[in-house]
């Protein structure tokens, strides 16, 4: 992805993101929309276990990135907890979750197994776990079913290199491709607001707009429960 006047460069799996003035706010606004679509609203405390070079992390607050006027925390008037996704940091998460009640724990799919094991080991209190909504972030490879894992409450599809963020809808359980933000042609998805390579959807069923009242003009991606790791 090339942007003129880019002064923020991020290497991500399968590509590189370059952001110039104003780009980050466009992207943060969309991520906030994703959270709302998943049922995370005003005043929420969101803990994110992801790498710092992932937009899910660095769009969390304007404190994390220059050029970002309002991150997710500012847009939701909420709080943002930075939990790096390195193995060393994942082991600390149970103790941190015991100190602070979070509304949503957003976690990379590839470290959820480690966290689940740590939570079991540390006997993380069940009531706190029930209150906390776990959102699992996956790329184009949907998570596999694993009974030993922390049970996901929702999923967030995130293909970093294509600037594709599609939240799992609380109503229809499909992944919404926001109207006006993405264009869908056959199985090719294109970001309309930010410059990024197109993405070819290889899995799931594409449902045309009017499928769901929560976003009646959105295209949706339907993944079977098995494909969603349930």
């Amino acid at each position: 992805m090339a942007t003129e006047n880019a002064n923020l460069l991020f290497d991500v799996p399968g590509g590189r993101l370059a952001f110039g003035d104003g780009d980050l706010d466009t992207w943060a606004e969309h991520l906030t929309w994703c959270y709302r679509m998943m049922g995370i609203g005003h005043g929420a405390t969101i803990a994110v276990q992801d790498f710092g070079s992932s937009p899910v992390s660095f769009l969390g607050s304007s404190l994390l990135m220059p050029g970002l006027q309002r991150g997710v925390a500012e847009r939701l008037d909420g709080r943002f907890i930075c939990l790096d996704a390195s193995a060393e940091r994942v082991t600390l998460t149970p103790a941190l979750l015991a100190q602070l009640a979070v509304d949503a724990l957003v976690i990379r799919e590839d470290v959820i197994e480690l966290l689940s094991a740590q939570l079991r080991k540390k006997e993380f209190a069940a009531p706190a776990q029930r209150k906390m909504k776990t959102i699992v972030v996956f790329a184009d490879e949907p998570p596999l079913f694993n009974a030993a894992r922390l049970r996901p409450w929702r999923h967030l599809m995130h293909v970093e290199s294509a600037l594709l963020l599609a939240p799992q809808c609380a109503s229809c359980e499909c992944f919404h491709l926001r109207e006006g933000f993405y264009d869908v042609n056959q199985r090719i998805i294109r970001n309309l607001r930010l410059t990024a390579p197109t993405y070819h959807l290889s899995r799931g069923e594409l449902l045309s707009p009017s499928h769901c009242a929560a976003g009646s003009r959105d295209w949706c991606i339907a993944l079977s429960p098995r494909e969603r790791g349930i």
Binding site: L8, L9, L63, C82, A87, A95, L96
Partner: protein, 430 residues
Amino acid sequence: MRDTTSSCARNDAIETLSGAQLTAWQSERLREVANHAYREVPFYRELWDRAGVEPGQFRSIEDFARFPTISKHDLVQAGDVWSNPHQGSVAFSTRGTSGAPLLVWLSAEEEEAYIRPTMRGFRWAGFRPGMTALLMSPVWHRLAACEAHAIARLGGRCAFFWGSMGSEYTDSFLHTLSAQRPEFITTTAPFLLSLIRLSHGSTTRLHELFKGVRSVVVVGLPLTPRMREFLRDRLQVEDVFERGGTQEGAATDECQRHTAPHVHEDVCYLEVVDEAGVHVAPGSRGRLIVTKLTTAGSIFVRYDTGDIAAFAPGECACGCGFRRLKIYGRPESSVLVGDRLITAYDVRMCIEEDPALVGRNVLLIREANARAGILTVAVEGEAHDPAKLQGRLREELGVATVHLVWLGELRVNWGFRQVLDGSEVQLPRS
């Protein structure tokens, strides 16, 4: 080496204040912070009421020493009563190397205060407008979050590699390094050392990838002079700077004299005290106590970090009036041998006197019986002049007996942890 006089450019008026002026300025900030903490943070009000002190009694900076010190355990236990109404909306975790991790809050106002010293430290390290900086992850540490803001304000570009600071992400780091060709890098010393070790014997020629890098700024491990030379030599970068800081508010950066990192006295008030809580003279080691000079974010007043540190005596030739502080280690990077607390830094200083041993990972093994007066050190690689090394360690560290364990082909990850309990490992004794 580049010209140091021009690069040590002093841009802040506060850097040139006299000692007395700086003390007066800090006293005023400390009074503000203490008043705020007493008024707004129940934890401090209750603590100070119990101790019979209150901010109104605060007349001079010496009075401040009467306020009790606090520990991480105190704050973890305190929970919500430690909350500051102005603590902000973003939290970071401490590393949890000394017990439970602690969530530390950052607000926009506090970050603004810390961006200024970050810019200062980067200028000292040679950052110039138009440069590209390859930075640590902004979610890794509260101070790392300030780095990208500082670079942007200094007129630079920020690049980030995919992943985190563990040795499993060195390839990703090298990929970005080779693609972005930054002139400036911030990272951790353990990460760089892992990078050097992993590239040993491979076709990757590190210095070619680092070509064009002028400065590397490292955190996470106190640099010995020979370790700095080793990093400069292996990476063939112009200079390597040590940056220090804690989630609790301490912030230090080296100038180009490399005598010891300067304390950013406009954001934190640091003390070094002995076991009785009395300030020690510059040059003497003690425990590091941190007070943040802002009423925003999580409030830390006389926080005992557990770090072992010493102020450097005298003034720095660079002309900056800020005191210089070297942090040598923490309890978890030290072992008690008899009645002496030996840090991993001390041991590395001795070991690195032998050029063949510079850059090898060194681990201290904590013995079950500290009173036995035995220092056990595990050193990476094959044995090299062990009798001489044992003698040097005995003499310079003042311990009766030294056991050396040569790890041979066994590779131990460079990390922030430099001590293992004897019960954790079964190592052959040489």
